[in-house]
């Protein structure tokens, strides 16, 4: 009898596969498709351009001694900076999140703030402080100081969520404090740290401005040479494909190192918040270390700005409204931050909740723009919009879209850290209580991931507010942002006039940085038991 039943009623493998999979929410699919389309736009431009160059041209471009040197320069810089950022970021996060450090809230903000200082201001600050600063070590130092917050942020969020119970268990199993940190704590925050390192790596691959100032030549320099001196888009795009290749390697590397390994808690019960480690005699040492870090990362550029405000001569440039530039910067950045965050939600949600090859591919794709110079992405948009959407060309909307593409990776990282706060289980319970999925999303999911959304918003806002290359290409004619005005004045030696613009850039970045610093730590703790 039982055999008969099995033969008759066992569904085919096919039906099982389909009904076993939960249906994808349409909104998510639409959002993720839009994100993928936007990200693919500059990539398609690159490929279309690059395929115009013949094989011999590719050989001429790539098989040069100087290109090999530049490539090696890029790789060794990227490796060194990424490792240093990881150490600084995790170390600082641990001090702020897990020790009884005095003035923690202040540190939480100060440590994020270097993100809000554009690379050209950082380089400018260092060179005016120490004119002889250049070469590999200078580049490593300057880039580490400006990029470590990208590791600090996710690391501090993750540390806030670590279950102290696990650490206590490890100690009871005979592990010392350092062993416990390495084998238990670090394991738990590992995906977050790797995510931050990925951003650092990709950002370094695309970096140009700061290296120009400290005279360190990377592969991106070769790309800019083709653009600026050769006016050879084809060659520049062909070289850019090498960057794409490098970033694909970085993305694969992150996966291989366990960037997606689930670090979900097993077992029931409420997560225990960790007790803070008293620093005792070490208080002064830690305070000094964090103080030095902030002084270098924040003090030097800000200090040089102050110096120039006080000592710079007046500019003969036509005076423009700094308020208008501020308003434009704020409006564009906020809009871009909103769009990028909105796009990152479905991308991340699908990759985390409906993981398969396609959703993972889209999520990985979303990181690529970070590794491409803004110029390449902006030219891709120029090329697309003059052909297919001329009414969009050099409109505010196009610039906002460009920002959203450029900084989508930051939003994805922010949202990724938040998505774990809401579990599918909670949403199911919400539905069993009689609410439609949309209502459940608004009343359960959204409030739970809100801190992460705020973080994503702030990260994109800060980066957009300091963006220069794409802004110069895509802004509406006649519109100035803080970054473009700063650039105009500095290229004219009017450092005194330029400094207030840079100061404002830092200031409007400080607000989201403050939000980031506070929200990430406090709300990570509140959302304990999801």
């Amino acid at each position: 009898m039982s055999m008969f039943v099995a033969a008759e009623q066992a569904p085919s493998r096919w039906t099982r596969a389909w009904s076993g999979r939960r249906r994808w929410p349409l909104v998510s699919i639409a959002g993720a498709s839009a994100a993928a389309a936007l990200v693919l736009l500059p990539l398609v431009f690159l490929v279309v351009q690059a395929q115009q160059s013949g094989w011999s041209e590719v050989q001429r471009l790539l098989l040069r001694h100087s290109v090999a040197v530049l490539l090696w320069n890029s790789v060794r810089l990227t490796l060194a900076c990424t490792v240093l950022c990881a150490i600084l970021g995790v170390g600082a996060a641990w001090c702020v999140e897990r020790t009884a450090l005095p003035a923690r809230r202040l540190w939480a903000v100060a440590l994020v703030l270097p993100l809000g200082i554009p690379d050209f201001v950082v380089g400018f600050g260092w060179v005016s402080l120490e004119p002889g600063l250049h070469g590999y070590l200078a580049a490593v130092m300057i880039m580490t100081l400006s990029l470590y917050p990208l590791v600090y942020l996710p690391a501090s969020t993750a540390l806030g969520k670590v279950d102290a119970g696990l650490e206590e268990t490890a100690r009871s199993l005979g592990l010392g404090p350092w062993q416990t940190f390495r084998r238990v704590t670090l394991r738990q925050i590992w995906p977050a740290v790797l995510g931050g390192c990925l951003l650092v790596t990709l950002g370094l691959l695309a970096e140009y401005g700061a290296f120009e100032i400290v005279q360190y030549q990377t592969f991106t320099v070769a790309i800019f040479t083709e653009f600026k001196l050769g006016f050879d888009t084809v060659a520049a795009c062909t070289l850019s494909l090498v960057l794409v290749l490098l970033s694909v390697m970085a993305l694969a590397g992150e996966l291989a190192l366990g960037g997606r390994s689930a670090s979900a808690r097993v077992g029931a019960g409420v997560r225990r918040n960790a007790a803070r480690v008293p620093l005792g005699r070490w208080t002064a040492v830690v305070l000094f270390a964090l103080g030095a870090l902030s002084a270098l990362a924040l003090g030097v550029p800000v200090g040089s700005l102050v110096y120039w405000v006080l000592h710079g001569g007046s500019s003969t440039l036509p005076s423009t409204s700094i308020l208008a530039a501020l308003a434009h910067t704020a409006a564009y950045s906020a809009a871009a931050a909103a769009i990028a965050t909105a796009l990152a939600v479905p991308v991340t949600a699908l990759a985390m909740r409906h993981r398969n090859r396609l959703t993972l591919l889209i999520e990985r794709l979303a990181y690529l723009p970070m590794a491409l110079p803004g110029l390449v992405i902006a030219l891709g948009l120029v090329s697309f919009s003059v052909r297919y959407a001329f009414s969009l060309y050099q409109s505010s909307l196009e610039l906002i879209i460009a920002y959203a593409i450029l900084f989508l990776p930051l939003a994805v990282v922010g949202v990724r850290s938040a998505m774990g706060q809401s579990s599918p289980r909670l949403e199911e319970v919400g539905r069993s209580l009689g609410h439609r999925p949309a209502v459940v999303w608004m009343r359960v999911t959204l409030p739970l991931i809100a801190p992460g959304l705020a973080a994503a918003f702030a990260l994109v806002f800060i980066s957009s507010a300091t963006e220069l290359t794409a802004t110069l290409l895509l802004r509406p004619t006649g519109v100035n942002t803080l970054a473009t005005q700063f650039w105009t004045y500095t290229t004219d030696f009017s450092y005194g006039a330029a400094a207030p613009y840079a100061g404002l850039m830092v200031a409007i970045s400080a607000i989201p940085a403050y939000v980031l610093g506070r929200r990430m730590s406090t709300l990570a703790r509140a959302g304990a038991q999801a």
Binding site: K228, G312, G313, P318, A331, S396, I400, T477, G496
Partner: protein
């Protein structure tokens, strides 16, 4: 419910941004002109103001790095919103000409400045000039030590003393001139010597600043960078001076700013009028009295106070057209790994 503010604020800011940018759309009404400006901004602002006052045509200025703007126009192709492209250097104009993106300049405009400075094909007009010079730190170098030719800088005497910016658009014409006057082999040897002797800076501003600071003793730059630094620092902060090479030397070179009308322009007449204004007496005088310290090219217009008169200099007998788009220099720099 305060969390709901995030999306609400975002929405408002999107609307705000759209409204704020609404005025920026390119318009081609005939009484308006879109200028892509790669020239120093205050120079342009001055000229544009004078032009607007004289003609009543409104000029929308889009300023940027000239190379970036050049690449942008290359991508825009026949759809470019630009009517006029005004640049600090001519190679970018040559590159656009090679792509067939420039319209011929009116004959009268070309005739207003010495024709040897203009595009050989008449596709762009030279507007102003700078002289390449050597800036030297007056505390480290005496006038007796100064070289008479730029070629000397590659010699062992200058080891560790030279600062230069090989990636700048001003450097390539120098190299192109050496290639043209002394041959590729000499140029390559010279570049190798510079590489061995010198410190590499990202731009001319850094070259002049660091020579003034004493990090480098000398550096090849166009004259006006020094004058502008002097304005920024005030007389008390200046520890450097300019040196002009012997006449006819490859280092003693004129660099030109230029302007062109885009073939795609739908405002050709206004665009041509703007070019004509740039080389008119009024335009050239405005230029001469600006902060830019460039030499006007129209005969009879005197340059700004303090400048060595153009007539007293005897630059190398090379036209911009002869220097071309700098591809030979670029190839050389790439070969030696300077780019």
């Amino acid at each position: 419910m305060r969390r709901a503010n995030v999306p609400l604020l975002s929405l408002l800011s999107v609307l705000g941004a759209l409204l704020a940018g609404g005025c920026g759309g390119a318009s081609h009404s005939g009484r308006e002109l879109t200028l892509y400006n790669g020239q120093h901004e205050q120079t342009t602002a001055l000229l544009v103001a004078a032009f607007e006052k004289q003609t009543g045509v409104k000029v929308n200025v889009r300023s940027g790095d000239e190379a970036t703007l050049g690449n942008q126009i290359l991508q825009e192709g026949s759809s470019s919103p630009a009517d006029v492209f005004y640049t600090e250097n001519t190679p970018v104009l040559e590159a656009l000409r090679e792509h067939g993106l420039l319209a011929p300049v009116a004959a009268a405009t070309l005739a207003a400045v010495p024709s040897r400075y203009d595009s050989a094909q008449g596709d762009w007009v030279a507007v102003s000039a700078r002289v390449s010079t050597l800036v030297y730190n007056t505390r480290q170098i005496t006038t007796a030590q100064l070289p008479s030719s730029i070629l000397e800088l590659a010699g062992p005497r200058w080891k560790g003393k030279v600062g230069f910016a090989p990636s700048e658009t001003d450097f390539q014409p120098l190299l192109s001139a050496i290639v043209k006057l002394d041959g590729t082999a000499t140029a390559e040897r010279w570049l190798e010597g510079m590489q061995a002797n010198g410190r590499i800076y990202p731009d001319n501003e850094t070259v002049v600043t660091q020579v003034n600071n004493g990090e480098s003793a000398v550096g090849p730059i166009n004259h006006y960078y020094w004058y502008r630094l002097r304005d920024e620092l005030g007389a008390g902060g200046v520890h450097s001076a300019l040196h002009y090479y012997a006449s006819g030397d490859a280092g003693d070179l004129l660099d030109f700013s230029g302007a062109a009308v885009l073939r795609s322009s739908s405002n050709r007449s206004a665009a041509q009028a703007f070019l004509a204004f740039l080389v008119s007496r009024k335009g050239q005088e405005a230029l001469a009295h600006s902060h830019s310290y460039e030499y006007p090219l129209r005969p009879g217009v005197t340059p700004a106070r303090g400048l060595v008169p153009l007539s007293s200099l005897h630059p190398a007998a090379l036209t911009p057209a002869e220097l071309g788009d700098g591809s030979a220099a670029l190839a050389l720099e790439q070969k030696l790994g300077l780019l």
